[in-house]
């Protein structure tokens, strides 16, 4: 049999828990608990919306399709810009250490608004025009991105190790800073190598 003092402690504990439960609606409005880890997802899928069958061997006059996706886990509504670029093997990629984007020409830009936990997926169709092959070099005159033609005049040297003329499709994620009223590179990018095989 429990002593009276032990029962007293049990009653006090029940009383404390009861007060906390009754005060919880007000406490939840005043006290903000820290959330989980905050980050954004950026991904690229193949034409079947799966992580497979990505375009690799490409040529002029044909259309290729990939899907881009963004998921917001930053804890509130966010305004993203998904930026599409094309580089050759010698041009710089975005720098994760210094958080700087690639200084390449922007081919296309998606504006994406997402609330916490929401995801976005958009189609990116692309093709090449004005492709010329020279001695150990290839030149892409225009890139067609979602039916918009963008002149690039990009040269790729012959890669003797991997046997091809390699270009890289780079997709960067930028985030709108409401305080500065401008976009900043969000230190996320995805890319796919493309081997230019024909000019048609």
């Amino acid at each position: 049999m429990l002593r009276l003092e032990d029962w007293k402690i049990i009653f006090a504990a029940v009383g404390l828990i009861g007060v906390l439960v009754l005060a919880s609606p007000v406490l939840s409005l005043v006290v903000r608990l820290p959330g989980g880890e905050r980050f954004s997802e950026l991904y690229m899928l193949g034409p079947g919306r799966m992580a497979e069958d990505y375009p690799f061997n490409v040529q002029a006059g044909r259309d290729y399709l990939v899907y881009l996706g963004v998921v917001n886990h930053l804890g509130g509504a966010e305004y993203y810009s998904v930026v599409v670029k094309l580089r050759n093997a010698s041009e710089p990629l975005p720098n994760g250490t210094s958080v700087t984007p690639s200084p390449l020409l922007v081919l296309y830009r998606y504006s994406v608004f997402l609330v916490e936990g929401q995801s976005w997926e958009g189609a990116l169709s692309f093709g090449f025009d004005g492709v010329v092959f020279g001695e150990n070099v290839s030149l892409v005159g225009k890139v067609l991105v979602n039916d918009a033609a963008v002149p690039v005049d990009k040269v790729a040297a012959w890669d003797s190790v991997n046997s091809g003329y390699y270009y890289q499709l780079v997709v960067e994620l930028w985030l709108y800073n409401a305080t500065e009223r401008s976009f900043g590179y969000h230190n996320r990018f995805v890319s796919r190598w493309l081997n230019m095989t024909g000019s048609l």
């Binding site: 009276l4 029962w7 007293k8 009653f11 029940v14 009383g15 009861g18 007060v19 009754l22 005060a23 609606p25 007000v26 409005l29 509130g76 509504a77 305004y79 296309y108 830009r109 998606y110 504006s111 994406v112 608004f113 997402l114 609330v115 929401q118 976005w120 979602n146 039916d147 918009a148 033609a149 963008v150 709108y176 409401a178 009223r181």
Partner: protein
């Protein structure tokens, strides 16, 4: 007579060339002006979207559900993208129209965000008052009830204790 005709023909040709020149010049100036206007409008639409998003953030901070607004902002951003594409391809009039459309969509979102913020604030205040009333009334009622139960339990416990008969164990030492 022939000399007059030749002079007239020369003057007419000269005038035609001058008019054509002025026409081309005006056309060029107008094209540049329209192009500049489209570029300005695209910039305005971009700013309008940024401001609308800031309004959405404020409404969200007030506790409003802003998913409907972000869907509309997505549409404004898509139309702005179309305007930029059209501008890049030299379709300045299409670019101008799309930029105007985008700015209007963004303006609508901005205005609705203000309304949503007000209603969210009012709702949040109502919820806060109700919660506070529930807490202010509930905690004392609970505390008094618990004290009464404790008082009753203590009496019951003491009575039960007094009713117990002391027993001497058989192996107890005297």
């Amino acid at each position: 007579m022939n000399v007059l005709n030749v002079r007239f023909a020369r003057n007419s040709s000269l005038l035609l060339v001058v008019f054509l020149g002025i026409g081309l010049l005006l056309n060029g100036v107008l094209c540049v002006a329209v192009g500049d206007e489209a570029s300005l409008k695209i910039g305005e639409a971009r700013d309008a979207i940024g401001l609308a998003f800031e309004g959405v953030l404020v409404a969200e901070g007030a506790g409003a559900n802003v998913s409907g607004l972000t869907v509309r902002l997505d549409e404004a951003g898509r139309v702005l993208g179309d305007a930029e594409t059209a501008y890049g391809e030299g379709n300045v009039s299409v670019a101008f129209d799309k930029a105007v459309q985008s700015a209007e969509l963004a303006e609508g979102v901005k205005n609705d965000a203000v309304g949503l913020k007000s209603s969210a604030l009012a709702g949040a205040q109502r919820v806060f008052r109700l919660s506070l009333a529930f807490c202010v009334a509930g905690v004392p009622v609970f505390a008094v009830s618990l004290l009464i139960v404790w008082w009753w339990f203590k009496r019951f416990y003491v009575r039960k204790l007094l009713r117990l008969k002391p027993e001497v164990a058989s192996d107890a030492k005297a």
